[in-house]
Assembly symmetry: C2
Homo-oligomer: 351 residues x 2
DNA sequence: CTTTCTTGTGAAATCGTTTTCTCAAAGTTC
DNA sequence: GAACTTTGAGAAAACGATTTCACAAGAAAG
């Protein structure tokens, strides 16, 4: 006697009581092949048979085994995403949008975090391929060449976000980090600032942080300021780092009159430091953030910052992915617009 | 000629260039059965053979096809999570911890968002079951009875988070929302506040919000205050809602001298309103938040709030899930401790 | 009335693993 | 040294779907 039990109508059931296609076919009085065809919308099935199968399936509450389906048809409707962390609103928002759209399009999302480590990203990519994802959403353009090659070889479509540079990938949705940096440079120069500093994110393995910094420095150079004189501190996106970096900057002489932060998180820390040390914003120093998170409006003074459409970016990435299935267009770049949000933390350079 | 290409060493590769177990076995000079045994830690394999397989696997960068593995072994190592939204740090942090641990334990996570809608949660649950998840992480104890039953019938283990009440589920990891509410009630009463109000989250379909409110009101009653006199406003967790709710409260007479907010988000809005309308905190009104998000420290004055170990909760949920596989303990509750973080937004009641 | 397409159907191969059988070789025990 | 364990390894059978192939039966064309 096997572990299966044979019921009176002759159908066999697995111990867990899970309904298989065989059971549906048995009840509908046809072969599994026919049942499969009906359930997959293949129209080469007679009307009567089709209806019997459909009825049997609903009556039994049949749910296809997606492992089996994926194994045979080599098509999971599965998407992977590797992001640095979910503990940062800018990525969480993107994933939120991505998930929402994918769900609406009948796809599912497996997420993995890399903690800003490209080596770890490589490992996660392998896992996701093993899971059978058909596409993978990554952050930024810079990745381990192994990762890029591996994914290409595995036939997995790569979509980069927060960037407009496709490079080794298949598509990109994001914005021009460099242009955003230049925009801030121009904005601060228009306010007559001359002693300018930056608190950037860690640029190693992070092209977004690097491009923002480089664009910013380029913009300053273009306006006649030597980039040599611009003090740049790199720090991970944490409030404490913003505090400490601002402390360092405020101890330099001459003090900068404007500080551009690579993220609102760093900017919030910078503001906190100034507030607790009697440094007036923007009277003594102007501070600019990046991302336009909720905190930008909550800190006092509220932050001038660059708005990044994070959720839209995720939504658009999802739409790009669904397109893949039908029209596999080539290198596909979608640029979203960032915009400067001027609030209270910036003002003209002190006299 | 098939679609496979045969390379010089005799191994066959699928068109996509994915390495299969067969390739590993071929390179190691053994059968697939043996290779499988080695890779699955079955110790009945000779030392020399074992090492050759391991070497071959790493050299080829072998990643098992999890569909096939799942199909045969009847175990996808797949976990689902349905959370209200990722656009709220408290959930994003939990998922961050969950994902990190699951990944370390060799499991993958599919996430879905419900937008605080139990109907939508039901739909998502069905999708996840179809995907073959073995467990599902949900937020709170309150769910559509259909969802609970469906998941139980499908043999999917249900883990509730942010709560200690298991009810229809299999396990819970979280904290006592009601006790946290009482704690705040006592704290405010100890500061001699008598006119107290609350800005709660939406309680429909949200037992956490409801329990916090009820615990708070109970605590006030216990200290001799009539819950009738406590004005409670419900609002979704958005900053603007905090602003508007605070506006309403400040227009009542007599004004409350202390306001408990169901979330730091609402509290941040409340603070913002006061700051822009010359209402002193805590001189005129004390404000208490909930969650201890980054913003609690960033707003001015910084928020007195209840610390919630969100990331730990996710990590613990992951560990509970992995336990299932081996020791399937029954109803399993793990209570984490919340604690009151006193900052600048609270003080004694004005005279 | 044959021949040639359609059309609908079922049998069987397949996807890449894990796991059960089977069996040979090498130890053990008397 | 014969009879029994143990041990290690391969061949082959699952797992549950999809999809190819083969083939009837009926329709259309000659």
């Amino acid at each position: 006697m096997s572990s299966e039990e044979t019921s009176s109508d002759g159908s066999t059931r697995s111990p867990a009581g899970v309904v298989r296609l065989r059971d549906v076919a048995l009840r509908a009085g046809c072969s599994v092949a026919t049942a499969s065809r009906v359930l997959n919308g293949n129209n080469k099935v007679g009307k009567a048979e089709r209806e019997r199968v459909l009825a049997a399936a609903t009556q039994l509450g049949y749910v296809p085994n997606s492992s089996a389906r994926a194994l045979r048809s080599q098509s999971t409707r599965l998407v992977g995403a590797i992001i640095p962390t979910l503990d940062h609103a800018i990525y969480a928002k993107m994933v939120d949008g991505l998930q929402e759209q994918l769900s609406a399009l009948g796809m599912s999302l497996i997420i993995n975090t890399s903690e800003y480590d490209l080596e770890r990203e490589k490992t996660q990519a392998r896992i996701l391929v093993g899971r059978g994802v058909e596409s993978i959403v990554l952050v930024g353009t810079e990745h381990d060449p192994d990762t890029t090659r591996y994914l290409r070889d595995a036939g997995v479509r790569q979509i980069y976000t927060y960037t407009c540079v496709v490079d080794g990938g298949d598509a990109a949705v994001g914005f021009d980090n460099s242009a955003a940096g230049r925009m801030i440079a121009n904005y601060l120069r228009d306010l007559n600032h001359e002693r300018i500093a930056m608190i950037a994110g860690v640029t190693k393995g992070n092209d977004r942080a690097r491009l923002r910094r480089d664009g910013f420095l380029e913009g300053l150079e273009a306006s006649g300021l030597s980039a040599q004189d611009v003090f740049v501190i790199e720090a991970p996106y944490k409030i404490e780092n913003g505090i400490h970096a601002m402390q360092s900057l405020m101890q330099t002489y001459p003090r900068p009159t404007a500080v551009f932060c690579g993220s609102d998180i760093l900017a919030a820390g910078a503001v906190k430091y100034c507030n607790s040390h009697g440094i007036r914003i923007p009277g003594d120093v102007s501070i600019v953030g990046f991302d336009d998170l909720e905190i930008a409006e909550l800190v006092d003074p509220s932050l001038t910052t660059v708005h990044v459409p994070a959720k839209q970016m995720g939504e658009h990435a999802a739409r790009m992915l669904s397109k893949t299935l039908s029209e596999k267009s080539g290198h596909d770049v979608h640029e979203l617009q960032t915009r400067l949000i001027v609030r209270e933390s910036t003002g003209p350079a002190p006299a």
